[in-house]
């Protein structure tokens, strides 16, 4: 068999599949330092002063875009947001031309979210600024994966040997894919559960254990990561009703009792309370959902810092 196409090695952050353990560890370790900064009264540092970052979002987002923006600003960079609805995209400008336009303005990094898988790869091959994938279709959402790893590590100290259950719409989830790669690189055992219609083919070949009874995945789990059910998918008939989903696949207190007593609950947000997760579980002591949000800023600070400076000016942080 001949082969065609290869992923180039660069300073971009395109996905956790191609990011090695040492680089992930660097980001996680750096994020710990960054988290201290977020909790200071005065958060502004000069570390990325003079650097320009554009967040280029072709899909709606609150937490990811805002956390990248704050991350850049806390480190002293100039951050500009471009959202598709307010850009030339609505006039028919192609992604290629949008990227070339942004590049020509002299930016150093482009944080990009796009509905098409591979859009960040496309950008990385086209323009010079560092590309950080903030979610590309159902492919990857690497900084979400990193913040999940970081949050788990904070609570559990070590990722190796943990049983992590990822529940719900695996088929359409970029968060699930980034989590699977990241967790497996650190020795966690990843279980996935959800309806057969929301489970991509051959996913077991990614090294995960597949269940269709959510109870089987939750039992004795250390971590339960509940994915958002994208309500728009219901129109395509992949499961009968929201009511049925909640009854058969939703995470509630009864099902949570099957997990280890200190199991942590995660959710990338925004939640559909009462659908994939019950209110009491989402706001229980076991929930780490708010920590995930704060850690998201720390991870994005670490990512911007390392991709833009290569870590050479770490001493300026302290």
């Amino acid at each position: 068999m001949m082969n065609a196409g290869a992923t180039p090695k660069t300073n971009h952050l395109l996905g956790l599949r191609e990011t090695d353990v040492s680089r992930i560890t660097d980001i996680l370790d750096t994020a710990r330092e960054m988290k201290n900064i977020i909790n200071r009264d005065i958060k502004k540092l000069p570390t990325l002063r003079g650097r320009a970052i554009v967040t280029l979002f072709f899909e709606p987002s609150t937490r990811t875009r805002t956390s990248f923006e704050l991350a850049g600003k806390y480190l002293g960079a100039d951050v500009v947001n471009i959202t598709a609805a307010a850009s030339s995209v609505v006039k028919g400008e192609s992604l290629r031309d949008t990227l070339l336009t942004v590049e020509a303005m002299g930016v150093d990094a482009i944080v990009m979210r796009h509905s098409a898988e591979g859009a960040a790869h496309f950008a990385s091959q086209l323009v010079k600024p560092v590309i950080i994938n903030a979610g590309d279709g159902a492919h990857e959402h690497p900084t979400q994966g990193l913040l999940d790893l970081f949050t788990i590590r904070e609570r559990k100290q070590n990722l190796s040997g943990l049983k992590v259950a990822i529940l719900g719409d695996i088929l359409h989830s970029r968060v699930a894919r980034s989590n699977i790669w990241g967790l497996q690189k650190f020795g966690a055992e990843v279980h996935v559960a959800g309806p057969t219609t929301l489970m991509p083919v051959d996913i077991e070949k990614m090294g995960v254990i597949v269940h269709h009874r959510v109870e089987d995945a939750i039992t004795d789990a250390d971590v339960i990561n509940v994915l958002r059910i994208q309500k728009e998918r219901q129109e395509k008939g992949l499961f009968p009703t929201a009511r049925e989903y909640a009854r058969i696949f939703g995470v509630n207190a009864k099902r949570l009792a099957l997990a280890k007593p200190d199991a942590m609950i995660m959710h990338p947000g925004p939640m559909n309370r009462g659908l994939e997760i019950s209110h009491d579980v989402a706001y229980s002591n076991q929930s780490s959902i708010q920590e995930q949000v704060q850690n998201g800023v720390a991870i994005r600070m670490a990512t911007l810092f390392l991709t833009l400076t290569g870590g050479k000016t770490l001493e300026t942080i302290n």
Binding site: N3, G5, R17, G118, A119, H121, P200, V201, D202, I203
Partner: protein, 432 residues
């Protein structure tokens, strides 16, 4: 004017020749194939082409190309597409009807043939649409198109979903003894998919086109062809189950033939890692087990022909996000090199089998001249060097389409000369 192609390894499956021999051409016709012919023995002398170390075979015929003219000349023109064919060693191609407007009437057929007569470097055969505007609703003027030169019918690019319309088309076409070429893919299953459904699509998060979408369509079309007692040709087979369905159908006497493409025979869906849009094609590049089945199908005669599905696009249609990139890529200039690299040098196929698949069978399926070096035959001849290593550089393609998943790859085997009706149209890689 006479031409002597001297000392080449002549591979002519139709006439049982597979040895060093000379070929003498007078005007447009072959007048002799033999050992030890020389210019002194040919009255009036001859131009001599030294083919020592090269393979000489009946002109290659690609029965599935898109020349885009009329209407889509930014992608390709008859002239540029035919030059790409000549450069790739093809002496004839058959063009699909999905131009703009669609080739669904005799005026369109005649127009393309007339333009080809004036501008094309190689023979052009026209495939008409099976249904008006390829809409899958009403039959096109099949008889009129055939009488004006159409050699086959196809709604290529679209599966004819209405079984009654397809069965009627098969039945009607059978009166004219021409094949109906099916783009077999059940759209409700393939839907919005951009690549083969499997591990790689799961990893990349890209929606997949499952193999069963092709298999279910092939199964239906075979049953309809059997029922209509008509000739069916399955275009660009890519799925293992489809190969097996065709194999079984042939065993019970159904008049079904099939083709596979160089890319489906040499690449897997792993080529999509990195999201290179040059790997986006319909049907999609499939996994290694499917590729193995295709090669086995070639070897046992289940798949009759190799056709490249030459599908040139303008740069702006490929230089985009993977999801919205156009399907297909240019193929005429890499086809022979890819097949020799992937199947001959790996000892999967002999040169004799390759010539059968790329010349003899396409001529037979379409019912056109070619595929033979017998005395009296039109002198359509391909000369190629099976061992020449070269690096694909699409910038130098004659085709307007520059997208190919083989760009930058080293291939082993290349056409050296193309002779159409006794005249060189390509020599040493240069189209004349």
């Amino acid at each position: 004017m006479k031409l002597l192609i001297k000392g080449g390894h002549v591979v002519d499956p139709a006439n049982g020749i597979d040895q060093i021999a000379d070929i003498v051409i007078d005007g447009q016709k072959i007048i002799g194939v033999d050992l030890g012919l020389s210019d002194q023995t040919i009255s009036g002398g001859a131009e001599i082409f030294d083919a020592t170390g090269l393979v000489v075979c009946p002109g290659l015929i690609d029965m599935h190309v898109h020349l885009r003219e009329p209407g889509l000349e930014a992608k390709e023109e008859i002239r540029t597409g035919s030059e790409a064919a000549a450069a790739g060693g093809f002496t004839a191609v058959a063009c699909m009807p999905n131009t703009k407007p669609i080739v669904d009437n005799s005026i369109m057929v005649s127009g393309i043939l007339e333009r080809a007569r004036r501008e094309a470097a190689v023979h052009i055969h026209v495939i008409g649409a099976l249904t008006k505007e390829q809409a899958g609703k009403e039959l096109a003027e099949i008889g009129d198109m055939v009488q004006n030169g159409a050699v086959a019918l196809s709604d290529d690019g679209h599966f004819v979903e209405d079984a009654r319309v397809f069965q009627t088309g098969l039945s009607y076409a059978s009166m004219f003894d021409i094949p109906v070429i099916s783009h077999a893919e059940e759209e409700s299953l393939a839907g919005e998919g951009c690549m083969h459904e499997g591990l790689v699509s799961t990893i990349l998060g890209v929606k997949g086109r499952p193999a069963v979408a092709e298999e279910i369509a092939v199964a239906r079309d075979i049953l309809l062809a059997e029922y209509a007692k008509a000739r069916l040709h399955i275009a660009h087979v890519s799925a293992a189950g489809a190969v097996e369905l065709i194999r079984q159908a042939k065993r019970r006497g159904v008049k079904v033939t099939a083709e596979a493409t160089p890319h489906h025979l040499s690449l897997t869906d792993e080529a999509v890692y990195g999201f290179n849009t040059a790997t986006k094609v319909n049907p999609p590049l499939r996994s290694a087990d499917h590729v193995r089945s295709l090669i086995d199908g070639l070897k046992d005669g289940t798949i009759d022909a190799i056709a490249c599905d030459h599908a040139p696009h303008a740069p702006e249609e490929k230089d985009v996000e993977y999801r919205i990139a156009a399907n297909g890529f240019t193929g005429l200039e890499t086809s022979l090199g890819v097949i020799l690299t992937a199947l001959y040098h790996s000892k999967e196929l002999t040169l004799n089998q390759i010539v059968q698949l790329m010349s003899v069978s396409p001529a037979a399926i379409l019912g056109v001249t070619g595929g033979s070096l017998a005395p009296g035959a039109t002198a359509d001849i391909t000369v190629f060097d099976p061992d020449k290593e070269w690096i694909v550089d699409s910038k130098h393609f004659y085709s307007k389409g520059k997208s190919t998943p083989f760009d930058g790859k080293t291939l082993k085997g290349k056409a050296v000369a193309t002779v159409v009706a006794g005249q060189f149209v390509m020599k040493n890689g240069e189209v004349l």
